[in-house]
Symmetry: none
Subunit: 313 residues, 2 copies
Amino acid sequence: MPIHQLPDASISAVERETGLSKDTLRVWERRYGFPLPRRDAHGERLYPQDQVHKLRLISRLLDRGLRPGQLVGAPLETLLARASDEGGMPPQGARSEDGERLDTTLRLLAAYDEAALRSHLSLTLQRLGLQRFVIDFAAPMNLKVGETWSLGQLSISQEHLYTEQMQHQLRQGIGAIYPGVRGPSVMLTTLPGEEHQLGLLMAQACLAVEGIRCVSLGVQTPAWDISEAARQKGIDVVGLSFSEALRQKAALEMLTDLRDRLPERIEIWAGGALWARLRRRLPGVRFITRLEQLPRVIAEYRAEHQSPIANAG
Amino acid sequence: MPIHQLPDASISAVERETGLSKDTLRVWERRYGFPLPRRDAHGERLYPQDQVHKLRLISRLLDRGLRPGQLVGAPLETLLARASDEGGMPPQGARSEDGERLDTTLRLLAAYDEAALRSHLSLTLQRLGLQRFVIDFAAPMNLKVGETWSLGQLSISQEHLYTEQMQHQLRQGIGAIYPGVRGPSVMLTTLPGEEHQLGLLMAQACLAVEGIRCVSLGVQTPAWDISEAARQKGIDVVGLSFSEALRQKAALEMLTDLRDRLPERIEIWAGGALWARLRRRLPGVRFITRLEQLPRVIAEYRAEHQSPIANAG
DNA sequence: AAGTCATTTTGTCTAGGACAAAAAAAGGTT
DNA sequence: AACCTTTTTTTGTCCTAGACAAAATGACTT
C-alpha cells in the first residue's frame, strides 16, 4: 500500500482533519512535547503527515474514553496496542451469510471494481429489502469500511467510491417507495460540522419503510435555520444524524441550543452511534443509538399522538 | 413569531452560530468596536442576543461580497438597508415555458412545499428527458437558486432542500439508464475544497446519456488519490467539476499538480462555469465551460481514439 | 479593456498566562 | 463493600496584543 505524499499541514488544516482545536494542539505541544511540528519561514506550525496520522489515532482513542495524559506523550506502538485493545472485535468464527456479504464488498472495493460493486449492492438490496439492507448490511458495512480505512488498508478514493455507490443504492431504494401520508412529519438533517450523508440516508430509508416521507435538508444546517424551517413547515419531529466525526460535547451543546429554539411540541430525535456511551439525558431529546430502535420510537410517537393521519404539510 | 429568551452567548457559541471564527470576533472588537460583549465574573465575553443577531446579518452580507470595513461599524439600519438593497431584480418580461418552470420551482421552494417540489421535478424530468432536464432546467435553475440565495431571499435550509431534491431526481434519472459499454472510461470527482455535488451529478447524467457509465468518487478527492485510482482502474479520462466556490488560481494550481501526476495518455476534462473567463490554456487539460459541449468533446475523443469499444475495466 | 504595481484591508497565527469544568483520588460514613 | 463528600490533578478553553500574508482595491501604464 503506497504512502501518500501529502504536504505538511497548517494548524487549521490539522484542526479540520482531526477535530482537535487549535488551542488544544498548541497546549499539548507546550505540555507534552507532542505534536512537535516544524515551522515555515514565518514561524508558523507545519505538521508532517505522520504526526497528523498519530493525532487522528489519539483523537479516536479519546472518543473511547481514554485520557490525553497517557496518550499524547506515548510512542506510536503503545497507541496501536491500545487501539487494537478494545477495538479489534474478533471476527465471528461462524461465516454467516451477512459476514460474507461484507467481505465481498470490501474485496470489490479493494479491487476498484466499480461495476461489480454496483451490481453486488443492487442485488443485495433487492434480496434483503430496503429495511434489512440498511440495518443488517449498510450499517455494519459502514463500520467496517471506516475501520479498514483507519488501519490504512483502504485509500480515500476507495472510501469515496463506497460512499458514492451506497448513496446511489439507498436513494434508488427510497425513491421506489410510494409516498406515504402517515405521521409524524419529520425533517431530517445534520448540524454544522457533520458531513456524513450516509447516516442521513439510512435514517430516511428506515422512515420511508414506515410510511413516513420526510423532508431532508442534507448536511450541515445551522440550528437557527433548522428551527425556522421546522416552524414554517409545521414539522412534528426534527431528526438529526451524528457520526463519530463530531465530538460528543460539541454535539450536546448544539443540541441543547437547538432544543431551546424549538417550541416544546416539536420533538428532537438524535441518532447515531455517538450516543451509545452517553449517560446524561436531555429533556425533550430522544437518543436513538441504533436504527433498529426507530420503528419502536415511531410506534410510541403515534400512540402518544392519537390522530392516525398527520398533517401533510 | 415568538422571541427567544436565549441567554447571552459565549464566544464559542457565537462562532458556531454565525460561522465567524473566535479570532475574527476578537479582532473586530479591537478594530471596529463591534461587537462589544459584556464580560462575566472571570472576564470572559458574553454576547447579548441582539449583537449575535446583528453578527448573523453581517455574516450573510459578507457572503454576498460586501466587505467588513463598511459593515461592522455601521448601525443596524444601514445593514438592513443594504440587505434589501440589491434585493429586487426585475422579473424578465417574456414568459417562456422554460422560464415558468424555473419560477414555479422557486415558488415551491419559498413555500417549503417539499411534496409539490418533488412532484414538479419528477414530472419535468419525465417530460424533458434526462439530457434536456440537466441542460435546459437544472443548470439555469442552479444559477437562479444561487442568485436568489445571495440576495437573501432564500434561506440556507431552502437551498439545502433544493439541492437534496435535485440530487435525488438526478440519481433516479441516472440509475434508470441501462449501463453502456462505450468508451472512454471516465472517472468523475472534485478536488479538495470543492463541495458541490450537483455539478458532478449533472456531468454524470450527461455522460450516461452518451452511453458512458463513469466511476464517481464523490467530492473532495486529493490529487494523489485521484491519480492512484485512475491508474489502478485503467481510466481514460479524469473528469473534474468546479463551481465558483473555488478560487481560479488555487484551482489551476491543483490542476497543474494533478496533470503532473497522471500519465500523458490519461486526459483531464475540467468542467464548470469557473473557466468561462480563463485565457490561459493548460496542455493536456480540456476546459468545458458548458455541459452542452460535452457530447462534442466525447465525439472528438472517440474519433481520435479509433477503437469503438473501450475497455470495461 | 487588460496588465502591473503599490496600498489598504482583513483573517489567521503566535506566545504564555490564567482559570473553570471534569475526572480521579482520597477520606469518611453507613 | 457501597456510597457520598471533599481535595487534588488533569485538561480544554479563554485571555491579550503583536505580527504578517493573502486578498481586495486603487492608481497607473500599455
